[in-house]
Symmetry: C2
Subunit: 296 residues, 2 copies
């Protein structure tokens, strides 16, 4: 289980996901951009747009390595001289108001002298929260986690709640999911098992998205402006808080691949207030609460 095997498997996960997403969309296809990084490594950025379901999305694979720059050690607090990082990162902005934004990331990091860790997560950002679909999403993630360690879902769900939180808005960016970082063999799981969990998580992604799409319900009270406002919160999260974005920017990554996560369009209204008893208000209340989506 060395970095090359992990890299190869991540590459395959990218291909698998893109093929499944094309099936779900039924119209648009991915375009691939190959790029290389001067200091070492490169990647393949697959993008899709103007589909039947997907308005703008990307599935990015990268493998970057080299020496830890001053900016990286300062901004990312990396201790060590050289690093290796590989990962698959996805954001899909759906076209319809009743379809969610969805994100997935799996990554592997290796530093000097055999120090390594995995990280990753999946989270869902519905424009309007459908509570039964949110529960369904969490149930599927719990099922997967439970195959590895029965305490994992609770921990990673909580981690996602903390991570995908817009502190400056005092609200969550969506209904969460799972998030983990610095995950390495721990007495419960071996490196191989953690790796396998990441692969499973990656492969679960298109299933989860497909399920959210096929079960989504459009309501006539839903409105387009709300979608653009939710998207602007997504922008704020990614540019102000997201560690992956920061890592990419500070490690001299490819900007277009890092900012693949940006929505096609977004809107900001000063001091927007949702009217009570509207779907927007209900959604906002949920995003300001902290739910355990699965009833025990």
């Amino acid at each position: 289980m060395d970095k090359h095997q992990i890299t190869e498997s991540f590459r395959e996960v990218q291909e698998y996901i893109c093929s499944k997403l094309e099936d779900i969309d039924g119209k648009a296809e991915f375009n691939a951009d190959l790029w290389s990084r001067e200091e070492g490594g490169g990647g393949r950025t697959n993008t899709i747009q103007d589909g039947a379901i997907i308005e703008k999305g990307g599935v990015a694979f990268s493998e970057v390595f080299g020496s830890v720059s001053n900016q990286m050690s300062k901004q990312l607090k990396l201790e060590g001289e050289s690093f290796f990082a590989t990962g698959v990162s996805i954001v899909i902005h759906s076209k319809a108001i009743h379809h969610p934004i969805i994100h997935m990331n799996i990554r592997y990091f290796e530093m000097d002298e055999g120090v390594y860790w995995f990280g990753g997560g999946i989270d869902l950002t519905p424009i309007y929260v459908n509570e039964s679909l949110a529960e369904c999403f969490h149930l599927r993630l719990k099922e997967l986690c439970d195959q590895y360690d029965s305490s994992m879902y609770e921990r990673f769900k909580k981690w996602a709640d903390e991570y995908f939180y817009l502190s400056h808005r005092k609200e969550s960016r969506g209904i969460g999911g799972v998030f983990f970082d610095h995950f390495s063999e721990n007495g419960v799981l071996t490196k191989e098992q953690i790796f396998q969990f990441c692969i499973d998580l990656g492969k679960l992604f298109p299933e989860l998205y497909g399920e959210q799409i096929s079960k989504a319900v459009a309501l006539k009270e839903m409105n387009q402006e709300w979608q653009l406002l939710r998207r602007s919160r997504y922008v704020e999260f990614n540019l102000l808080h997201d560690r992956g974005t920061k890592f990419g920017i500070y490690s001299g990554g490819r900007t277009e691949s890092i900012l693949l996560s940006m929505p096609p369009e977004a809107k900001w209204v000063y001091n927007y207030q949702e009217e009570e008893n509207t779907l927007e208000y209900q959604t906002q209340q949920i995003l300001k609460s902290n739910r355990s989506w699965i009833t025990p």
Copy 2:
């Protein structure tokens, strides 16, 4: 020249600017929101929207003080136990494609034991660069700087070029202007003179904006999508790089006032490439170069 006098003058600058901007717009008026900060201080956020000229804009005054939190000392590298900060901050997003985005800020900062400094700047972000209007903008700034210190314009112009730079895009957010920070009595200027320079700069703002608006030329080749794309770069700058935004967010400021700078709408297109020999291409070339706008 104590902090209370400075605060009062900044308050007056806000009023002056809002009244002048209403004259320029001719249709929309400012709305005021008063807010207070739990840890000390507060502000008045004046916003304007859907005007004849101005699509979305804000002129924010604030006066905040209190003890330096862990997050502030860590993220903002402030040394000392307590701080006092007051300032006026403006961003105007114009409606028409041939009208620019414009920004101005003046601020005063005081730490323990009489340590203080002023900071500020004005910069212009045209959607399409009109070279003679860019020169005109810089000439006016130079005229003002020269009244205080003949070496100031060059230094502050360079500082603006460095500050308003999107390193991840390798381009400037606009045609620059002036920027300065940690400005205190230096053997050339007294505290009082620096304060007066800040007030003059604030009062120059509506004149500069009015001039850019009245002399702007609409061309039929200009297109709306380009405006939305330039606005997304503005979002990237403010959320990824801008120190004022970071200071606001990390010092527990009022989010709606800090993010006043966000455009009404923005658009992201993966790997957008301007076609050669278009106005967009010309603008992009200018933003990727580093010009001295004033011919000596």
